[in-house]
């Protein structure tokens, strides 16, 4: 299988969210994978060069300075055809969902979203992926030689360091459509690790009252652990936490080493986004809260009392 990995970029910089797709390629097609990174004056390409890819292709063009699917899709389709790729792959994110399904449409290729396993049997690819908001796992068989896939980050992990790959500058195809225009991006950043990449995630629910309280208690605990901050949809909808922190069926999927759920009831929709975490801690005043059914360690207590204690204890013992 010849794999073309589409690197996640914001048009200016390569994102570490690409790494699980590289781990996928190392496991499924170690000899024959190429990475394609699209943008304008792209930074951070060296992040992609130490994993044994045959080449890292970079396409830089002023029309590609922002990540618009309408503009990027023909570039991906062009290089997939030129390289004769059997599979076009990226880590599941809003960037790749937007872009790769458009590529599949351009190439009339079947697509598998968010896969957690892949085998080949009798010349067919057989993939597993969560369906019905991760309540069930579906097995899918794909006919035909070409396929587009997004891979669920937590299922594939991090790639192994391997031989250096040459970086090749590649031309943008001539006919990039420029009807869609990028205007702005608000939110993001904040200096904490990326939610989908972090080793530790601390999430807060609706009882955190307001953004200041949320930041003080949840942000404070996350910082003591060097972790990222997450939230429930109820917290986001009440304006306590920004939308991009939402974990769950309609938010992000995370699977850190440690997930601390503070005042989170544990709805199925929230669990869909975090139940594959290695260790789950729940802090909740209600001993019957469903979150305790999936927690490795449960503390029945008031967050306003125990979260400051926990934060202090971790700070003082240098964790």
């Amino acid at each position: 299988m010849k794999v073309l990995i589409v690197a996640e970029t914001d048009g200016g910089r390569v994102s570490e969210k690409t790494l699980p797709a590289i781990a996928f390629a190392q496991q499924k097609s170690p000899e024959t994978f190429t990475i394609l990174a699209i943008g304008d004056n792209l930074q951070g390409v060296e992040m992609l060069t130490g994993y044994g890819a045959q080449a890292v292709l970079t396409v830089n063009h002023p029309a590609l300075a922002k990540p618009l699917a309408e503009r990027y899709a023909p570039v991906v389709a062009h290089y997939a055809q030129q390289l004769g790729a059997d599979a076009i792959v990226a880590t599941t994110t809003t960037f790749s969902r937007d872009l790769l399904a458009r590529v599949a449409g351009l190439l009339d290729a079947p697509m598998l979203s968010d896969i957690t396993a892949l085998e080949s049997a009798n010349g067919k690819l057989v993939a597993k992926r969560p369906i019905y908001s991760a309540n069930l796992i579906g097995t899918f068989e794909v006919e035909g030689s070409h396929v587009v896939m997004t891979v669920r980050g937590p299922a594939w992990g991090k790639p192994e360091p391997k031989g250096a790959s040459p970086v090749q500058n590649a031309e943008a195809p001539a006919d990039i459509p420029t009807r869609s225009e990028w205007l702005s991006l608000q939110g993001g950043g904040g200096g904490r690790p990326d939610l989908t990449q972090a080793r530790v995630v601390v999430s807060g629910g609706r009882p955190l009252k307001d953004p200041e309280t949320f930041e003080k208690y949840i942000g404070g605990l996350a910082d003591a652990l060097g972790g990222a901050v997450g939230a429930t949809r109820a917290a986001v909808d009440s304006g306590i936490a920004p939308n991009e922190l939402q974990v769950g069926q309609t938010g992000k999927t995370v699977a850190p080493e440690l997930y601390i759920a503070v005042a989170v009831s544990g709805s199925v929709q929230h669990l869909a986004g975090m139940k594959d975490s290695k260790v789950i801690v729940a802090i909740n005043t209600d001993p019957e809260a469903p979150i305790f059914q999936v927690a490795d360690y449960g503390l029945v207590a008031d967050l306003y009392q125990v979260v400051p204690e926990l934060t202090e204890l971790l700070k003082n013992s240098g964790s």
């Binding site: 399904a101 697509m111 019905y132 991009e244």
Partner: protein, 249 residues
């Protein structure tokens, strides 16, 4: 301005879903069905654009068996002007659904197509983008705010990095995210009254579309269950266990 909205019949989002006895599909006995919640949001947006005087006609389309008429009746009751059922009992994959929708689009020639960002059964999140590619139209996925002005759409999108705003000329394909709006409630009487609105049934063959399903669902299983762990009495015990037992800090 005419708006086309696709509407998929899916299990009710609050229904309990489990595999059937053979593990080849879900258990559908007595399963409550509904309009895909994201499509309901797309439809609500279309109806609000009509109420605001920006759109003149809202057409709902569904692909599926005869039972999908129920969801189209709900769409009509919400405020769609007419509905089209592309009737087929075949199992279609996302490219096939996109091809049929493209044929309906070409027949209807709308100025805007609104649809859900994903169907909550298969959660693929593919059809809108595939359709935009097939029709060579601009796309805006995961919309949380749509402003239509002077023949163009300005769309706020919910991305992993925050709210992104993009603008594109119409016609375009826009897919709805959860926070775009809160769909109105339709009373049963509304559904009865909507019976007089036109619902046309056609087939993929009438549209001249031939589909070939290449992705097949062969097995459905429950994920491995997580077992409940232990209760701790205070933060000191918690930190000790996280260090010595779980070794994650």
């Amino acid at each position: 301005m005419k708006i086309l909205v696709s509407v998929k019949r899916v299990p009710d989002p609050y229904a309990k879903i489990s595999p059937n006895a053979t593990g080849t599909d879900i258990n559908r006995d007595g399963l409550q069905m509904a309009v895909n919640p994201f499509d309901e949001i797309a439809l609500e947006e279309a109806i609000r654009l009509k109420e605001a005087g920006k759109a003149t006609e809202v057409v709902a389309v569904s692909i599926g068996g005869a039972e999908s008429q129920e969801q189209l009746r709900t769409a009509l009751a919400m405020g769609a002007d007419r509905a089209i059922l592309v009737q087929t009992d075949e199992t279609l994959d996302a490219p096939s659904v996109a091809k049929i929708l493209a044929a309906v689009y070409r027949r209807e020639q709308p100025h805007l197509m609104l649809m859900g960002k994903q169907a909550i059964d298969m959660d693929e999140n593919q059809v809108g983008q595939m359709l935009a590619a097939i029709l060579d139209l601009p796309q805006a996925t995961f919309a949380s705010k749509i402003t239509i002005e002077n023949g163009s759409a300005t769309v706020e999108r919910e991305t992993d990095n925050g709210i992104e705003t993009i603008r594109m000329p119409l016609p375009a394909i826009i897919t709805a995210d959860l926070r775009l709006n809160e769909p109105r409630y339709v009373a049963l009487t509304g559904i009865v009254r909507a019976r007089s609105k036109p619902l046309e049934t056609i087939t993929p063959a009438d549209l001249g579309v031939q589909t070939r399903t290449r992705v097949r669902l062969t097995q459905v299983e429950a994920p491995p269950a997580r077992k409940a762990g232990k209760r701790v009495s205070d933060v000191h015990e918690l930190v000790r266990l996280l260090r010595e037992e779980a070794r994650v800090i």
